[in-house]
């Protein structure tokens, strides 16, 4: 019923200068050349604050306690302690970039380290490769569960992963029953023992995983799509992105990375226990958010996260060496995060840009504010 005379209308396409059309379709409107924004003088100093503070910390302790701080064993200890947190945090970046929390990542680390231990030395006493393979599958299942809850049942990721954290904790208690599991077969321990060019082996795992996540998240279309989902899920959906699948996949990825971290953790520490996971939760999140103020402000990024982990790790180690009490160490972690985030916001305000503030706003209040300062 709609097929009206097509041919007569074809000539309508001639557009008269009605609302005053002009034909400058190929040249920009203004002839004057305007300088590009965000260059030269506008470099955001706070994006490199982490590196500066890192250098400051190292210098301070090197002068203060050179014979304790400037030793190979100290550096190796810092590198090794930080690596597990960094691996976990790097995995966590994936769902965070997609706009979803994975609160269960630390508990997933704890749970998978117990599962792996149990498979090797208590339950079926499987060989190391088989135990590792099964553990990774378990991590995959945890991720599938999270993904299912968030992407398909559409639960809020905060709530869904809080729930799965509790389930995983229950699993941990069931397996460990308040006991330590260990020691492990020597070929399991050798996964992470030894060094390569003086660097603890575990750091190589971090390097490999970090590179992989960096590549995918920051330099492939897939990563861009994940970030689009996190930046504006509805706009991403209307642009044709499979946002639910991306969120699902990102939660699976973070759980699998957490289970890798769990296996490495068991191998490094040598025993496992039901309380192992939770202490990693805050450091991992702190590193991810602090990292998002570094290098590429406003974007969760691998480089910034790794810097953040080692910045915090070095500071903590130094404080412990000078005999700092536990509370000083904890306060240091909190203060570092607050300083990083507030300096990023202040420097943004000075530049009139809002990348970090927006990212945080997306994650903190979870309600929209009128953005009055934008056109």
């Amino acid at each position: 019923m709609l097929e009206h005379s097509l041919s007569t209308e074809a000539s309508r396409r001639a557009i008269p200068p009605a609302d005053s059309a002009s034909a400058s379709t190929t040249e920009p409107l203004q002839p004057d050349v305007r300088p590009e924004r965000r260059r030269g003088a506008e470099v955001q100093w706070s994006a490199y604050l982490g590196i500066v503070i890192f250098v400051l910390i190292v210098t301070t302790f090197s002068i203060w306690i050179p014979d304790l701080f400037l030793t190979t064993s100290n550096w190796q200890s810092i590198a090794q302690t930080g690596a597990i947190t960094a691996i976990l945090a790097v995995g966590l970046l994936i769902p965070l970039s997609a706009g979803a929390y994975d609160l269960s990542c630390a508990q997933c680390l704890g749970f998978t380290s117990l599962v792996c231990s149990w498979l090797m030395i208590q339950g079926p006493r499987l060989s190391v490769p088989v135990a590792i393979a099964i553990t990774l599958l378990v991590g995959l299942v945890v991720g599938l569960l999270n993904g299912f809850l968030v992407a398909f049942l559409r639960l809020d990721s905060f709530i869904a992963t809080l729930g799965s954290t509790s389930l995983l904790l229950a699993g941990c208690i069931l397996i460990a029953n308040s006991e330590y599991l260990g020691p492990f077969p020597s070929d399991f321990a050798s996964l992470t023992s030894g060094r390569f060019l003086g660097v603890p082996t575990i750091c190589l795992y971090l390097a490999a995983l970090g590179l992989l996540v960096w590549y995918v998240l920051e330099h492939t279309p897939l990563g861009r799509r994940i970030q689009a989902t996190g930046a504006n899920a509805e706009a991403a959906r209307l642009a044709g992105l499979r946002t639910r699948r991306l969120i699902f996949g990102s939660l699976v990825a973070s759980a699998v990375v957490a289970s890798i971290a769990g296996i490495l953790y068991a191998s490094v520490i040598g025993t496992t226990n039901q309380n192992d996971g939770p202490p990693y939760l805050l450091p991992a999140f702190t590193a991810a958010f602090l990292g998002a103020t570094q290098l590429k402000p406003g974007t969760f990024n691998v480089g910034g996260t790794v810097i953040a982990v080692y910045l915090l790790g070095t500071g903590v180690q130094g404080l412990q060496l000078i005999g700092g009490q536990i509370w000083i160490v904890t306060a240091f972690n909190g203060a570092a995060l607050l300083v990083a985030v507030s300096s990023a916001q202040i420097s943004e305000r000075l530049r009139g840009d809002q990348a970090v503030s927006r990212m945080l706003r997306r994650f903190s209040s979870r309600s929209e504010h009128p953005d009055r300062l934008e056109a």
Partner: protein
Amino acid sequence: MPALEVVGISKRFGGQRALNDVSFTANRGEVHCLLGHNGSGKSTLIKVLAGFHQPDGDGRLLVDGASVPFGSPVEAHQHGLRFVHQDLALIEKLSVTDNLALGGTYIGKRWLSSRRENRGAEEVMRRLGITDVPVATPLARLSASQRAMTAIVRAVSQGGLPSVLVCDEPTASLSENEKERLFSLLRALRDRGVAIIYVTHRLHEVFQIGDHVTVLRDGRNVVDSLPVTSLDHGSLVAAILGREPEAFYTTPPAPSLEPVIEVEGLAGERVRDLSVTVHAGEIVGLVGLMGSGVEEALPLIFGAGATTAGEVRVRGRTLKPGHPDDAVDAGLVYVPGDRKRLGGFAHWPLSSNITVSSIPSVGPMKWLSRRRERASVLTYLTSFGVMPASPKAIFSTLSGGNQQKVVIARTQHSGATAVLVEDPTAGVDVGAKPAIYAALARIAGAGGAILLMTSDYEEASMICDRVIVLSAGLPVAWLSGDALTPDSILTASLRAHSDDGATADA
């Protein structure tokens, strides 16, 4: 004594001069139109008046002769300045009632009764002649036009009658008769002595409602408070663009009978039974008044709405309802009217905003080279006249009209041949509209199909081959050929509307 006096205001962003020594005056009881191309500094000027931006140097701002300090929204408000900003500045998650109350206050002081508050809000709306905005509904679920109404009502209903009301493109998404309601409201305010500063890109509105005109070009005022009667359309365009307007033609494509977008018996919340076929080479318009279901039509076709019945095919392939990604796979893209909320990635650079539907990569490892990406979008930025034409510029720092151009450029970049587009030139200046029409015509000319929802009837009659008028969720009029004029569209939609009122509602 003028109600508003702006003297010598300048503002830079980084190296860029957004305002350069701007001065003008507006009197009580007049509508003062503020015009200018995209990025000419209109919104920036308004934000300076509102106290959001601190101007550089020593400009002055006087309201009713009293000097208003810069940089303080509270002072601006106390001096009787009220604003409807281009992005409306409403809170999406809250209801209309709450949004109105946030500007002023709730009726209840200790105990909030939603019923009483909602009734109060309805009353405020009704006094301004607005009856079809559901006050208890969260803003996010309302159409762009209903949101615009809410913003305007909020501005004029807080704390007595303002001295100056500033409206930054309030009609960008309103159709003719909704606009008429807004105009009568503005006229009523004007007659009660309010000075109204009115920003628009639709120049015929200037002659409908304006008394005086000020034009900005590249941050400078080139026309300072001239009476409308001394100007005509051509001289306005020349003032805005700084050059003579030129005619714009495209070659009409060969007519074809190959169907590209086929919609059959589609129904959703408001749309009841919509069937449309768009053939290769065609641009088909979809118009209707607010509430006719026209706002819902394109998302529904795209699979982004709640489809209750019907089917959509693109080049013979049936789309899965509820799956925009399936539509995109089939070669259909959608440019939402609400580009601020649904179109752009605010803190991303322009390059990523343009490529997001079809992200380029190199080699089997899918390496995404930012340098290449930026190079690939340059031609789109220049062909649409985006200002600044820099791929690295951050989306949110662009002027409203330039943001629109970027989102439309994405359609071209994705190479889509079937396009659903809502109000493609809302907020776009007269110099840049042809670029957007040309882009649409190019897609159609290359065998593509375009279904266009527009509230600008002049635009509809100008670029569409056929126009379908919707009312109460049903297509009620089909216009084409010589029968297709802005007036015939308006008449058809109004008639359909009143028929509807007589039969369905009563």
